[in-house]
Symmetry: C2
Subunit: 348 residues, 2 copies
């Protein structure tokens, strides 16, 4: 049984969409049980429509919900201990749940997750990892926006955590890892990225295969299993790709409705277009994974529909089922054990 | 007459593609005259096939061509004064040409352009500006890879230069300018970006309208006329968008050939698909503009076909015809005149 704590009030639509999303996820994975955190008055009428879900869940009424526009510091001050967001995270800390899922505001969720769960030993900063659809399948890209900037050691940590996530998700033993850069030649790029490349090459880590630098166009190709970058560039890459996909979708729609012949062609090829639409549907690949905390938290898009919420829940389900955090902790331990001088003061 | 100096040896295919590209550009703009720099033996046989082009051009035989893989420092050492790349840039300096175009390696081209033309007064660093196709038409994005990192004043300079380019290209009087960031709220983002936002707001510049922060997904939407960012993020955004467009093109191809019905539909809608292909064709929007130098240099994609080369030449043609550098110089002068204390020592 995978126990998922869910913030019912998160996202642009709150329980109206989060609860149906949970129902979908449960349909597909009967071994889920839910711990819900919500405002009773708003949730009860929706929950009543999903008796099967109600049966597989425990509901906790909370005092308040964090709004989508609240600043992280304000959300933390106002919502600590008592908000649906905080309490769904706390359930992971207390062991009531294996993973927390929220579609609430990213900054607030990260601030609360850090405050409540704390970062893992040897990890300075958490990262947000995105699952990126590629021509070969899927890759993991991190950090897509937890923090701006990262030094070489932090990029190294991201590589280790991303590698562990790839092993949890893709069933590869030694995932390939690339550092996002502006050129494949060694002399180009940010100092931190170059230094991280040196660290990764020298560390020669068992749990991942360092493949060198990759560029923006390698993301869609799926050149490597894990792409590592700091949060500013990572967030810009993610949003640029989403924007480009939407833009091309618009072009396609416009082209297909322009002439009668095109419209007829569209009807013939409708199943092909449906397949394509499915492929480009952002709700199919929803769910940013917070890595580096003592507990797994999944962030869904705020604007996700029920299908998107279900996808985010399923990411959490996979992560918990495949022991993501155990994998990360093991990998970190091995790496740091190798790194510390034997019998040195830090090893004591 | 717009005089264009062209490096015939640049790009993955050299004169085989650059010369036919020049012929296409001349067909469409009979008021172009060319100054060619190439290796005679390789160029003569190709040029012989384009008598009209030959008539409208002067050919200069050079000693060497810079290779696509050469490091900038090496290219500069080896190719200064004597390479086709250097000499095509030099033609702008001496006034023989209004603009230089090369499909050669970006790092070498930028190094030579800086060395030969020098940066404009009041500009610390040049930038590479890309013309970005959007749902509304086109935007300008800079810097897409001239240098990594930029402080607030440099971002401000990019805004001024990008604004001038937008006025030269789009026939708007006061282009809108946004700073690429990870969130629209004022508290998010890199320090330099926030500081640049303050500078832009306070400067209240006549030649542009500062619209605040934009995110990666605003690029494809065309939210603003000019998007300003430092070269690392800009390059990653550009390549990510190109990669995503290719990826979706692949999905579409696969979907349309999967079933008989889809293939029939494709035939009906062929003209619509052709329109779409044209829209996504990278050769249609080829040509990075080097801004901030005492002379205009256009960088074409190395892998461009003849159509792509023609597009890059046409970007140069437009820039020269619309007095890009005069516009930039005027805007900079106005901005700095406002900024300096009247009668202060710097104003002397």
């Amino acid at each position: 049984m995978i126990r998922i704590s869910l913030d019912l009030m998160g996202g642009d639509f709150g329980p109206q969409v989060v609860i149906p999303g949970a129902a979908k996820a449960l349909d597909r994975h009967p071994d889920i049980s839910f711990v819900f955190y919500g405002l009773k008055e708003q949730c009860d009428p929706v929950l009543a429509k999903f008796p099967k879900l109600k049966e597989k869940s425990v509901f906790h009424d909370c005092e308040l919900a964090v709004s989508m526009s609240e600043k992280p510091s304000q959300a933390l001050r106002r919502g600590r201990y008592i908000s649906t967001m905080w309490r769904s995270i706390e359930a992971v800390k207390t062991g009531e749940a294996d993973v927390a899922v929220s579609a609430g505001n990213t900054g607030a969720l990260m601030a609360m997750a850090k405050f409540c769960l704390r970062t893992m030993a040897n990890i300075e900063r958490p990262a947000i990892a995105a699952i990126w659809p590629t021509l070969k399948g899927e890759s993991i890209v991190l950090d897509v926006g937890a923090t701006i900037g990262a030094d070489a050691q932090q990029l190294m940590d991201f590589a280790l955590m991303g590698g562990a996530m790839a092993r949890a998700l893709f069933e590869v033993e030694r995932p390939t890892v690339g550092l996002l850069n502006v050129g494949v030649e060694e002399m180009k790029g940010q100092e931190e990225v170059k230094e991280a490349g040196r660290l990764l090459r020298e560390a020669n880590i068992d749990s991942l295969e360092y493949s060198g630098f990759v560029e923006g166009n390698d993301l869609g190709k799926g050149t490597v299993d894990v792409v590592v970058t700091e949060g500013f560039s990572g967030n810009i890459a993610l949003k640029t790709a989403e924007g480009t996909a939407k833009q091309i979708g618009e072009y396609l729609r416009a082209a297909m409705s322009r002439t009668l012949l095109a419209r007829i062609g569209y009807l013939f090829a409708k199943s092909a277009f449906d397949m394509l639409r499915e492929k480009l549907d952002p709700s199919k690949v929803n769910g940013g994974v917070f890595l580096g905390l003592n507990g797994i938290v999944i962030k869904s898009h705020g604007g996700a529909n029920a299908e998107g919420i279900a996808a985010a829940i399923e990411v959490g389900y996979d992560m918990a089922k495949n022991g993501l955090n155990q994998k990360i902790e093991n990998d970190l331990k091995k790496y740091h054990a190798k790194r510390l001088p034997p019998m040195g003061p830090e090893a004591a």
